[in-house]
């Protein structure tokens, strides 16, 4: 199940807001679709993330896919653990598999994202 306290982007990324900061990751649906993740090209700290654009690239045994940022802001932290153990994303996409933390530059963007139940419906549609 997708956690209730997160917001979801249609490109299958999630964001967890805590004050001005937002943690970003990919959803369980995304990691399932990608299959075994073998590499993630992590973004760099202090670079700018723009909503709806690529911030990272994930390589799985099946495909190479961009990670689309759900929000805009400055990247203040990245999950370095993923560079040696990208499979953590498969194991725990909403927890230890987080990708980056962004200092939000436009909080109003959060309103455009889906909540857990909308995202649930969205992926049901997509699966059809």
């Amino acid at each position: 199940m997708n956690p209730e306290d997160l917001k979801y982007h249609k490109e299958h990324t999630w964001v967890k807001v805590s004050g001005k900061k937002a943690t970003i990751g990919i959803t369980d649906y995304a990691q399932e679709a990608l299959g075994d993740i073998v590499y993630i090209d992590l973004p760099e700290v202090d670079t700018i993330a723009e909503a709806n654009t690529e911030i990272s690239e994930i390589e799985s045994t099946k495909a190479t896919s961009p990670v689309i940022s759900p929000v805009s802001g400055t990247i203040v932290e990245v999950n370095e653990e993923l560079s040696d153990s990208p499979e953590i994303i498969n194991e725990d996409p909403y927890g230890k598999g987080w990708i980056a933390v962004v200092e939000l530059s436009d909080e109003s963007e959060l309103d455009e994202l889906m909540d857990a139940s909308d995202y649930e419906k969205y992926i049901e549609e997509e699966a059809k």
């Binding site: 073998v38 590499y39 090209d41 690239e57 390589e59 045994t61 099946k62 495909a63 190479t64």
Partner: protein
């Protein structure tokens, strides 16, 4: 007919054997060792070291293959160099043996043209000899280019020649130039644990390859933690106690234990008497030749690197055959329309024919087909899934005009495409040919199918 060949690299020794097979009385003059750069300081020794580095790299993946290791695996560069020398030695014996069997006379020393029929040889023991010939093939090759910014010392400021013989794995290494040679050494040393930083003036590594190939290589380098700086040059190199300092054109400074300079090759066209006999050279010192590999002087031919063309061993060999045939009275012209080339990085790169950007430059409309190795069962079984195959086809005719591969065994896979291009085959011909399963070659068939969006193992776009 008496033929003299100056230089016994892949251009010269092949020319000598071809001419001997055609009945000529052949003398080869070589001042270092038969096999030339390719065998002694290039293709073969790097591949021998790479094989050691890759074997070591595999041990880091043992777990993935279901193998448990008790204890540790330690790379020993001195032993790797010894193995490399053994591999080279076997090939040297092979060439010498072929010379003997075809009656080719080998004179060891430095050859200098005295006139179009006479070559003076300064032998290794200091004595001089004169070789007389009816015809001459010059195949003196090339050497690592050196500029005053990088004073090679063989210890810490290295040419590619030096890098083949260091016996301790450097902790850190700066590589100047991300062309073929630089990238191959980057992979070898990185696999052995060296921290590698590459500095390339051009905007991308292996800049003569298709753009998508350079992009994927850059990603693979990032995975391996090879640092690749592009669009920047090295302006100054100084030796200090803490290592080699390199000042970059953007003002930054790099420090490393050693620096390897691979900025190109200089041609060996000086001091061999070309001026004495009036052989014409171009602006870079390259010997000018016609399609028959003949210079402006009747009966004097030149082949390989010294003619300044593609600087590839297999091109030199083909030119050697063409020169030998012409010298022996069988008129032949060189055909450069299909020249495959390989870069032994990990993953490997190979290409033949037009790059997509070249087609654009030439105004040729093309379609492309792609196929990812990770969609092949064989690639997964081998545990080597990175990379892709790209086919470039002329839109109007559907003819295959280029193929670009980055991935496992790219250098072996490329020849099916080379044959297709040489034979003027269409995309359909390749796509319709049944390919054995499970093989990496299936990727070529699928990439061809993908030109028309008909690949089976590609998801709906």
């Amino acid at each position: 007919m008496r033929l003299a060949v100056i230089g016994a690299g892949p251009g010269g020794y092949v020319a000598a054997l071809k001419a001997a097979q055609m009945g000529a009385e052949v003398t080869v003059i070589e001042n270092i060792e038969v096999g030339g750069t390719c065998l002694n300081r290039g293709c073969i020794p790097t591949k021998a070291l790479l094989a050691s580095a890759e074997t070591f790299a595999k041990t880091k993946e043992l777990k993935n293959f279901g193998i448990e290791l008790q204890g540790s695996v330690i790379p020993n560069l001195q032993k790797m160099v010894e193995r490399k020398n053994k591999v080279v030695g076997i090939q040297i014996k092979g060439i010498r043996g072929l010379f003997k069997s075809w009656g080719v006379n080998l004179v060891e020393g430095k050859g200098v043209l005295l006139n179009p029929n006479k070559i003076e040889v300064e032998k290794k023991d200091g004595t001089k000899d004169v070789v007389e010939a009816d015809k001459i093939i010059i195949a003196t090759g090339s050497r690592p280019a050196q500029i005053p910014t990088f004073p090679f010392d063989g210890k810490n400021i290295l040419s590619s020649d030096d890098a083949l013989n260091i016996t301790e794995i450097p902790k850190s290494l700066i590589i100047v130039g991300a062309g073929v040679i630089g990238c191959e050494f980057a992979c070898i040393f990185r696999e052995l644990g060296t921290e590698v930083t590459m500095v390339e003036m051009l905007p991308r590594a292996v800049s003569t390859e298709d753009t998508e190939i350079s992009e994927l290589l850059a990603k693979e380098f990032k995975k391996k933690k090879i640092k690749l700086l592009t669009g920047v040059g090295v302006e100054k190199v100084t030796s200090a106690e803490d290592g080699i300092h390199a000042t970059l054109s953007d003002g930054k400074e790099l420090v490393a234990e050693k620096i390897l300079v691979s900025i190109g090759r200089a041609l060996n066209s000086e001091g061999i008497g070309l001026e004495t006999v009036g052989v014409k050279k171009g602006a870079r010192g390259e010997i000018l030749v016609d399609e028959k590999m003949q210079t402006n002087i009747e009966g004097i031919y030149a082949v390989g690197d010294v003619t300044g063309g593609m600087l590839l061993a297999h091109v030199a060999s083909k030119e050697g055959i063409v020169a030998a045939q012409n010298a022996c009275g069988k008129e032949t012209k060189i055909d450069y329309s299909t020249v495959p080339a390989a870069i032994f990085t990990s993953p490997e790169i190979a290409s033949v024919g037009l790059r997509e950007f070249q087609a654009e430059e030439k105004g040729i409309k093309v379609k492309t087909g792609h196929f990812q190795f990770r969609a092949l069962g064989k690639a997964h079984a081998m545990g080597e899934i990175s990379g892709f195959i790209k086919i470039v086809a002329e839109s109007d005719t559907d003819r295959i005009v280029g193929a670009h591969i980055i991935g496992p065994h790219a250098s072996d896979l490329i020849h099916e495409a080379a044959l297709a291009i040489k034979a003027g085959l269409k995309v359909k011909d390749l796509a319709d040919t049944i390919h054995a399963h499970p093989t990496l070659s299936e990727g070529l068939m699928e990439a061809a199918e993908d030109v028309h969006g008909e690949a089976i193992h590609v998801p709906k776009k």
